[in-house]
């Protein structure tokens, strides 16, 4: 597995971030942040991340709140919650507020985490392809139309091309 897209891990526990760095050293392009605020700053400076993996319980800004804000900032990023807290309330709040793609609980096996990341990346690509496709199709149709117009009514063409 080798993923060119950028992945962001957010956890207040530095040891966990270190272990992820080791795990994905050769396999993915990962960034880490120890708090929600740091992560949001990173999103500003580094551009869009394909996947954001966040812990739930963090001081000041919890995972649900962070993911909610991350969604506003970067709606295309795929959001995953990785938490040691397994109670229903935190799951509900994360799903509703953060609109997450996966809910993973710590400790999470390497295989599951990797599979989830792969799925997330696929989802991310899918969304982007869809977007590209849509854009290209519409653009192509308009171009075709304008070329036809140019042939039929060259005097109107100028106006049309401006649109």
């Amino acid at each position: 597995m080798s993923i060119p897209e950028k992945i962001l891990f957010v956890d207040d526990e530095e040891d966990i971030l270190n272990s992820f760095k080791r795990q994905f050293r050769k396999k993915a392009n990962i960034s880490t942040a120890t708090s929600g605020q740091e992560a949001l700053d990173l999103m500003d400076s580094e551009g869009e991340f394909a996947v954001i993996v966040s812990d739930m319980r963090m001081p000041i800004m919890d995972g649900a709140e962070f993911l909610e804000r991350a969604k506003k900032k970067s709606p295309n990023s795929i959001r995953i919650l990785l938490t040691g807290q397994t109670d229903l309330n935190s799951a509900i709040s994360a799903v509703n507020k953060g609109q997450i793609f996966r809910f993973l609980s710590k400790p999470c096996s390497q295989e599951l985490l990797q599979d989830s990341l792969k799925s997330a990346i696929r989802q991310y690509r899918l969304i982007n392809i869809e977007k590209d496709l849509l854009q290209n199709t519409v653009k192509g149709s308009i171009e075709l139309l304008s070329e036809l117009l140019a042939i039929v009514k060259p005097n109107v063409f100028n106006n049309f091309n401006r649109i």
Partner: protein, 691 residues
């Protein structure tokens, strides 16, 4: 001295002669007496006129000529004369031999009888004087006799244990029968309550409502006249030949009732009247007050007996000879011994299976200090039951006002079921607290487990890479193709440089993670120390450290923890499970207080919790300080009350501090209190005695 004389004589000659004699007597009296009598004369020649006059004027002596009036014929008139004006002496004069038969006339009611021919002014004066004196003496005696009779009859009423109303009725009968035999006479007692006049008892005919209405005004004027409080004042009215006397009845400071006597004739001489009625008023007032008091005491006594009998605790009264004086219903239930059996028996001789030495030692304490003991617990067995039950007992000694011992009271409650419930409740609260913790603790364990497992995978992969590199080096050595360039390539392939930096870190962090999990599991085990009945020797510092560890998730996001433990703290005997629970409750509250404050202040600064243990004289002091918002003055008194909470519904049960208080106070004989500065900090202080 003014004296009015009525001369009744149908013979005008003898009548005029008599009047002349009386006129002459006036002169003698004024000459000889230091206190001369002024005589005035009324005359009449028939009974009817005489009685009219007597009713209209105050007549002191009646002189009747029985020679001119046939007393046999007018016997009834003579008797009437006597009865309507019973105080005036009646002197008969006669010119015949009838004088000899005095007895005959006494029975009609005459006081003296004189031959008309011997009457001179001097003799008449003497006769008048002596008659008045005799009459006075007689009435004095008569009145005091009456007084004594009435008083003794009234006082006797107190001996019968009648109700107040019965006493009032009997008093009316006694007074009425003394006054008159007539059916028209009456005696009544009136009370004034809220300005409403009411007849509470009467003998003889009862007054009509209209009469009472008229009478009311008179009563008010008497009751509210200012001088009637201090001096004796009574009312006397003459209505249709009847005399109506109203006498106030007083207690210490007010008139509480009136006695109304309605009679045809007065039984006391006018000169004696005042003191006579005053006396009755005094006696009757005393009798009524005593009867009322007795009735009140009887009611109170009955209420007390009922109260003691029906109270939910067993009450056992013991006198100074150790004999049972009270044994209520609940005592019968507890000990299976009937009241009739227990009474007047020695308490310690009764067939009761309980821990006597504890009771006796408490009894001595109570008697020595002359105070009610604190409630203490004693085990006992109910008859027919196998298991031990628990009694909560308080002993109250009874002393007379002079300090001499007269007995004591044992109040006992069977608290077996309550104890069971309490224990079960404590256990369930304890389990609940562990349950609430477990979600947080899971998080605390899962986090290190996450990086331990990832790191182990990394270590495994790294080892494979290194092993592969070593194999390649070995092969190269074998084929003698190993040179520095090749070695560098092998090292680079295996990323040896990175690994030599990262592997020690990975090992360290993994080891640290394992230690973290171990310490949590150990703390968990220590926290959930079996909730034993016996105290065990406990290291308070260890307890506190474990509790801090397992409660870490409750505070670490909002506060830093500073722990200052006295390393020389001695181990003390305590219940570690409940003690940990207390520490946990206080830490959780501290964390919540800090969280609330930072939310209110809208800051992201962390607060601080400081836990300190100190060795003070003969107890261990634990101080837990938070930098939260403090406890508002208005709720400071309530924070240890059960179910009192400031937290939102579902966040707190309001049991934590109440339970903590009972754990420290009751199970450890310690102290739990707090110091707070509003808006700044709160410190909870726990003091546990060594013993």
């Amino acid at each position: 001295m003014s004296i009015s004389i009525m001369v009744l004589d149908s013979n005008p000659n003898s009548k005029n002669a008599m009047i002349t004699t009386i006129e002459t007597t006036k002169g003698i009296s004024s000459d000889t007496d230091s206190n001369p009598m002024s005589l005035s004369v009324h005359d009449s020649d028939n009974f009817k006129d005489a009685i009219d006059t007597i009713n209209r004027f105050k007549i002191d002596i009646i002189i009747i000529n029985i020679s001119s009036i046939d007393t046999e014929k007018y016997k009834d008139d003579c008797l009437q004369l006597r009865s309507i004006y019973s105080f005036a002496p009646i002197i008969a004069v006669s010119n015949s031999a009838k004088t000899a038969n005095l007895d005959h006339f006494e029975y009609i009611g005459f006081d003296d009888i004189l031959g008309i021919q011997i009457i001179t002014p001097n003799i008449l004066l003497r006769v008048i004087k002596s008659a008045i004196q005799r009459s006075k003496n007689y009435h004095l005696f008569h009145t005091s006799n009456q007084r004594k009779l009435i008083n003794s009859s009234l006082l006797k009423l107190l001996l019968n244990k009648d109700s107040f109303i019965e006493v009032a009725k009997s008093s009316c009968q006694i007074i009425n029968s003394r006054n008159s035999n007539s059916d028209h006479s009456s005696a009544s007692i009136y009370t004034i309550n809220d300005d409403k006049v009411e007849c509470i008892a009467h003998a003889g005919p009862k007054d009509s409502d209209n009469r009472i209405f008229d009478y009311q005004k008179k009563i008010y004027s008497l009751k509210y006249s200012p001088e009637s409080i201090n001096e004796f004042k009574y009312l006397k009215q003459n209505i249709n030949n009847r005399t109506c006397i109203t006498i106030p009845l007083k207690d210490k400071n007010s008139i509480f009732a009136f006695l109304k006597i309605d009679t045809e004739n007065c039984i006391v001489h006018p000169s004696e009247e005042r003191s006579y009625y005053k006396d009755i008023s005094k006696t009757l007032s005393d009798v009524f007050i005593l009867a009322q008091e007795r009735e009140r005491f009887e009611q109170i006594y009955k209420q007390n007996v009922r109260l003691i009998d029906e109270m939910s605790s067993a009450a056992i009264g013991i006198d100074k000879h150790d004999l049972v004086t009270h044994w209520n219903h609940q005592a019968e239930v507890y000990f299976g011994i009937d009241k009739s059996v227990a009474l007047k028996q020695r308490l310690f001789g009764l067939d009761i299976n309980c821990d006597w030495p504890v009771i006796i030692s408490n009894l001595y304490d109570s008697l020595n200090e002359n105070t009610t003991t604190d409630k203490f617990e004693v085990s006992y067995k109910r008859s027919g039951e196998v298991g031990d039950r628990i009694l909560s007992i308080a002993i109250t000694p009874f002393l007379e006002s002079n300090g001499s011992f007269i007995g004591y009271l044992l109040l006992m409650d069977d608290i077996t079921e309550k104890k069971h419930l309490e224990r079960r409740h404590q256990q369930s609260m304890y389990l609940e607290s562990i349950g609430q913790l477990s979600a947080g603790i899971a998080h605390e364990i899962n986090t290190p487990m996450q990086f331990i497992s990832v790191n182990l995978n990394f270590l495994k992969d790294s080892f494979i890479d290194v092993a592969k590199a070593l194999t390649t080096i070995k092969k190269s050595l074998h084929t003698k193709t190993l040179d520095e360039a090749k070695l560098n390539i092998i090292f680079e392939d295996a990323d040896i440089e990175y690994l030599s930096d990262e592997l020690p870190l990975a090992f360290n962090q993994t080891t640290e993670g394992v230690e973290r999990v171990c310490s949590i599991v150990k703390a968990m085990k220590e926290y959930s120390h079996p909730n034993s009945e016996e105290k065990v020797s406990t290291n308070i510092n260890n307890c506190i450290e474990s509790t801090i560890t397992i409660s870490k998730h409750t505070w670490k996001y909002h506060a830093d923890m500073e722990v200052i433990l006295d390393p020389d703290l001695p181990s003390i005997m305590c219940h570690p499970g409940p003690f940990n629970e207390v520490i946990l409750n206080i830490i959780v509250n501290a964390a919540d207080a800090i969280k609330d404050k930072s939310e209110n202040d809208n800051t992201t600064n962390k607060g601080k919790i400081t836990i300190q243990t100190l060795n003070v004289e003969n107890f261990v002091e634990i101080r837990i300080t938070d930098t939260g918002g403090g406890i508002p003055l208005s709720i400071q008194e309530k924070i240890f009350d059960p179910f009192f909470t400031t937290k939102a519904v579902g966040k707190g049960t309001g049991q934590g501090l109440s339970l903590s208080y009972s754990i420290i106070k009751e199970r450890h004989n310690g102290e739990l209190h707090f110091e707070t500065v509003t808006g700044e900090s709160t410190t909870f202080i726990i003091q546990l005695p060594y013993n």
